[in-house]
Every structure is written in structure tokens, then in C-alpha cells.
């Protein structure tokens, strides 16, 4: 967990270290004197060698949770990120809930009615879902619900209704992935012997589904939720840009436009940390859900005690 965050930070820092062009010359405008350039570089710490800069940046994040300052506006990035993150998280969490509440039932319906019309219809929808770019879907939703019908605001933030379109656009691919994964892992389980046994005992289909099939099909479904969270967080970048929602993603896009490298770097790392934390929760959920995983961890502990 900590090594991964450390690794991500070092990796992103290193990639962006090689960015061509001198940020100082861009900052100081048309004709800076060499002395001005030197002073500014000194002030921003750009004259230090790579390892010193990396150490300072990583140390700042790990020790003080400080991402440094924006190169262009000279404002602290951390407070900006923390101020914006709730909006990004709101979208991501709503999308995740939609993904679970809509995607999973769709997948179940498809698996239970295998090759029936319910299956075909949900998989048809899901196929479109994973094939549609979310930014295009967002624009189409704006076109239809805001421009044509005038029901929902096309952009900005405010009440709950400002979140409806962004969430639909961002969640749609996730819902589709969820439905597909649920269907395929459920189908795999339904072929197992213990399902046949349960049927042979005369158990009702619903009970078989809830008691035997679903719990055993749950692990891949949970994994998809975790991975989907990464997609949702990353998806907010373009969604926030389209709907003008001042979250972390829009901050990142703004940073790209301004060539404000510290903003880009910090936003990416911040989102990656958030993603890592969520994946950690998913791993914990594994242990909670699957007794086999729990037993393995318990077994490891016992083995260590003996060793």
C-alpha cells in the first residue's frame, strides 16, 4: 500500500521530469533577463538535481501531505485538491452505486434467462455501454436533455439535478462492465455440481440463486467494482471538463492547458492514491466475503508464529 503510493509518486514525478521546455521562461513572459530567470528557477527549486527535487516532493507528500505549489498561480495545490475532491468523489460514488444497483441486476437477469430475450436485451445494452466513449455520451445527453427538452442544466454545479447528467454519462460504461461480469461469473457458477445438487433437492430457483449461486459468484463482481472505481475516477477528468464541475479532474485538465506541471503531477498522484485506498478496501472486502481468503490470512499468521 505505502510502497505502491511511493512507487506511483516516483513514477509520475520521473515521467514529468522529462517534460521539454522551460516553465520559467513561460512564466516570466516575453523577454526576461538571465538574472530574473536564474532567480525564479532558484525560487522554484528547479536548479536542484533530480534526486533532491524528487526527495523534496515525495517527502512533502508522505510526511506533511503537501503537494507543493502551483507553478502558474503560486497557490498551494493541496488545499485546492482537498477543496475539489468532494465533488469528484460524489460523482464517483454515485456512479459506483448506480453501477452496483443497475449493473448487477441486469447481469443476474441475463444469466438466469440465458439466451432468452432478457439476456439478449441486457447484453445488447451492455455492449453499447462499453463501446460508447463517455465524453460523447455526455454531449449527447446534454443535447437531448438540456438543449432539446430543457429538463436538466447542461453544466455547472448547484443542486442535485446538476449531478444527474454527469453521473449517467460517467456510470454507463461501468454499468455495462458490471452487467457483463456479473453474467459471466454467474454463468460459470451455475454450471457447478452443487447447483445441480440444490436443484435435485427441490430448492426453489430464487433460493438457489440467492443462497448458492450469487455468494460464489461474488468475488469477480467485487473486483470489477474496485477496478471500475479507477475508471470512474479517471472518467471524471473529461466529464468534469464537459459539465464544468470544478473537481480534481477539471483541475488536471486546466493544469494541462496551462502547462502547470505540478498541478498535473499532483492531481494524477492524488487520484491514484484515492484509487489505491479504494482497492485496499476491496481487498479487505474479499476477506470479509470469502472465508477461503480469510482462512489463508489466518493460516499465514499461524505459520509465522511457528517459524
Amino acid at each position: 500500500m505505502i510502497p505502491v503510493i511511493l512507487g506511483v509518486t516516483i513514477l509520475v514525478f520521473t515521467i514529468l521530469y522529462f517534460i521539454p521546455g522551460d516553465p520559467v521562461r513561460m512564466l516570466l513572459g516575453a523577454e526576461p533577463t538571465p538574472a530574473q530567470v536564474l532567480a525564479k528557477r532558484q525560487e522554484m527549486g528547479l536548479n536542484d538535481p533530480y534526486l533532491v527535487r524528487l526527495g523534496r516532493y515525495v517527502g512533502g507528500i508522505i510526511l506533511h501531505f503537501d503537494f507543493g505549489k502551483s507553478w502558474i498561480y503560486n497557490t498551494p495545490v493541496t488545499s485546492e485538491l482537498l477543496h475539489r475532491f468532494p465533488r469528484t468523489l460524489t460523482i464517483a460514488v454515485i456512479c459506483m452505486l448506480m453501477q452496483i444497483l443497475i449493473g448487477t441486476p441486469l447481469g443476474i437477469i441475463a444469466a438466469v434467462n440465458r439466451n432468452g430475450w432478457g439476456d439478449r436485451l441486457s447484453m445488447f445494452i451492455a455492449m453499447f455501454g462499453i463501446s460508447m466513449p463517455n465524453f460523447w455520451l455526455a454531449l449527447m445527453l446534454i443535447l437531448f436533455f438540456s438543449v432539446k427538452l430543457g429538463w436538466l442544466p447542461p453544466y455547472g454545479i448547484g443542486g442535485l439535478k446538476y449531478y444527474i447528467l454527469p453521473c449517467i454519462a460517467n456510470a454507463f460504461p461501468g454499468i455495462a462492465t458490471q452487467a457483463r461480469q456479473t453474467r459471466s461469473s454467474l454463468l460459470e457458477v451455475i454450471r457447478s455440481d452443487y447447483i445441480t445438487t440444490a436443484r435435485a433437492k427441490g430448492m426453489s430457483e430464487l433460493r438457489i440463486l440467492l443462497r448458492h449461486a450469487l455468494p460464489n459468484a461474488l468475488l469477480p463482481i467485487i473486483t470489477i467494482i474496485g477496478n471500475g472505481m479507477g475508471m470512474l475516477l479517471a472518467g471524471t477528468v473529461v466529464i468534469e471538463m464537459i459539465f464544468a464541475i470544478p473537481g480534481v479532474g477539471w483541475y488536471l485538465v486546466g493544469g494541462i492547458g496551462n502547462r502547470d506541471i505540478n498541478v498535473v503531477q499532483s492531481s494524477v498522484i492524488f487520484l491514484a492514491i484515492a484509487f489505491t485506498l479504494i482497492m485496499l478496501l476491496v481487498d479487505l472486502a474479499y476477506a470479509f466475503i470469502d472465508p477461503r481468503v480469510k482462512a489463508r490470512f489466518a493460516g499465514q499468521k499461524r505459520r509465522k508464529q511457528y517459524a
Binding site: V4, L11, I19, F135, M140, L143, L252
Partner: protein
């Protein structure tokens, strides 16, 4: 020498028949066939773009800017009077090239790393897999965005950035598959006839652990095309006046109220392409699924 030659000959025959089996299963799958036909259609469109497109992609017609779809311009024209349909036809070249090449590069590199990690195990495995952990904990598109910020815009740079994004996935899959074949007798046999390690990995390990990667790569071409479009949409990636689908959508975005066709049609083509590839990939996965084999 002789025995190795005959075994190789046999394995070649077997591989071919395997290919035919998969191809036959694919052709029986209707959605995979539709996907394949549409994909071929799009490739043909990309190859013969100059013949199909009624106008040049850069030709401006300032007398007919923002014209709605009509018989002359079936998808309308954009703010500079360029024919949207022609630009879409030309754009298919860029999208398909980027999609296929980026996936090929990413898969090749990922497979190599994955095979090395799985074959050698131990410290090598640990180092490579931890690196992949780190790469994967940056959500896909963010990694691609970061790299293309550094590399700058342009077709080649976009290609490079997108291929890095595909490395972890194929690396993981290959490693898992390699671990599955690692202790098979034919590898022992190869070692015993003194085949070199690179030869064992390239000739014996990789071909036998190819199937899962093939499926995931086919599926990821569509994904990469979407990511490429997204990159040019946020201003990285391929730059105007190149008629890339994503940048066409981005260009039409501010005019969406008055001329929605500038946004709608490129998007439909992205969707169509990705849909076709995904349908084909789905069918391919089913066809290669060992559970269905008799």
C-alpha cells in the same frame, strides 16, 4: 536435429487446425460475424479513403459553413465548411492505425515482460510485477494523459503513450499463462535438447500462452481507440487539422446547440468501430474458451 524438425512440423500442423477450429466457431457466432464484417468494412473505408470521401478532409468551403446534413454534404459541414463525412472517412485511418498499432506495441512489450517474469520467477518476477502494480495503480487514462503531456501532441507520441497503457494488462495475463505452462514436459524437453533460453521463451512458452492475451488485446483495441479520441478531445493527442474523430467532437463541442451533427456523427463512428471490435473480441473469447472444447 531430425526429431526436432519433425516435432516442429507436427506442431505447425496442429496449430493450423486449431486456427481452423476457432475460425469455424467464430463464423457460427452471429454477433462475432457481424462485428468482423463491420470491422472489415471500416478497414476498407480507411484504406480507400481518398476514393470514398467526396471531398478532401482539409478543403474549406467558406460559403457553406455549418451547413446541416443535405444531399451535398450528407453529414453536414463544420465551422470552416469542411465536409464532415469526408473528415470521418479520413479520420478512420488515424483511429484504426492508432488503435491497432498501440495495442500491438503494448501487447508485445507486455508479453515479453510477462514471459520473462513468469519464466524466471524469483527476484526478476518480483521486480517486474511490482513495477506493473505501480503502473496499474494509476487509473489507465491518467497514465496515458501523463505520458502524453510529456511527449507532446502528434500521432506518433499518442501512439507511444497509449501503448504504455496496455503493457500491465498483457504482462499480467502472459505471466499467469506462462506459470501455467512453466512445468510442462515440452519445456523440459526443449531444455534437454539444449535450446537457448530466448528460444524457449519465444518459440515454446509464448505461443502456448497466447490465447488469453489475444482476447484481451482484441478487446482493448476498441478501448484504445476511445482513449485516443478522449486524448484529442482534451487537447492532447492528434492535433487539428488532422481529422481525428475525438478532435472533431472536441471542435464541434462549443457549437453543439446550433450544429449537433458535428458532434453526433464522429461519435457514432467511434461507437460503431468499438462496438464491432468488442463483438468480435467477445466471440473470439468464446471460441477460444477451453471449457467449450470437446
Amino acid at each position: 536435429m531430425l526429431s526436432s524438425a519433425t516435432t516442429e512440423g507436427k506442431s505447425k500442423i496442429k496449430r493450423q487446425s486449431e486456427f481452423l477450429v476457432v475460425a469455424r466457431r467464430l463464423s457460427q457466432n452471429s454477433s462475432a460475424s457481424i462485428g468482423f464484417v463491420v470491422a472489415v468494412f471500416l478497414v476498407v473505408m480507411a484504406i480507400f479513403a481518398p476514393l470514398i470521401a467526396p471531398y478532401s478532409y482539409a478543403k474549406q468551403d467558406l460559403a457553406h459553413t455549418r451547413a446541416a446534413p443535405s444531399a451535398q454534404h450528407i453529414f453536414g459541414t463544420d465551422e470552416l465548411g469542411r465536409d464532415v463525412f469526408s473528415r470521418i472517412v479520413w479520420g478512420s485511418r488515424f483511429s484504426l492505425t492508432i488503435g491497432v498499432l498501440a495495442v500491438l506495441i503494448g501487447t508485445a512489450v507486455g508479453m515479453l515482460f510477462g514471459a520473462i517474469a513468469g519464466y524466471f520467477g524469483g527476484v526478476v518476477d518480483d521486480i517486474i510485477m511490482r513495477l506493473m502494480d505501480v503502473l496499474q495503480s494509476i487509473p489507465g487514462i491518467l497514465l496515458v494523459i501523463t505520458i502524453s503531456v510529456v511527449l507532446g501532441p502528434g500521432l506518433f507520441n499518442t501512439l507511444l503513450a497509449l501503448s504504455v497503457g496496455g503493457i500491465p494488462m498483457s504482462c499480467r495475463l502472459t505471466r499467469a499463462a506462462v506459470l501455467g505452462v512453466r512445468h510442462q514436459e515440452y519445456l523440459e524437453a526443449a531444455t534437454s535438447i539444449n535450446a537457448s533460453t530466448p528460444r524457449i521463451i519465444l518459440r515454446h512458452v509464448l505461443p502456448n500462452s497466447f490465447a488469453p492475451v489475444l482476447v484481451s488485446s482484441t478487446m482493448s483495441i476498441g478501448n484504445v481507440i476511445m482513449m485516443a479520441a478522449m486524448l484529442s478531445f482534451i487537447g492532447l493527442g492528434v492535433q487539428p487539422p488532422t481529422p481525428e474523430w475525438g478532435s472533431m467532437i472536441s471542435g464541434g463541442r462549443s457549437l453543439i446547440r446550433t450544429c449537433p451533427w458535428m458532434v453526433t456523427f464522429p461519435g457514432i463512428f467511434i461507437m460503431l468501430t468499438v462496438l464491432a471490435l468488442n463483438m468480435f473480441g467477445d466471440g473470439l473469447r468464446d471460441a477460444l474458451d477451453p471449457k467449450l472444447k470437446k
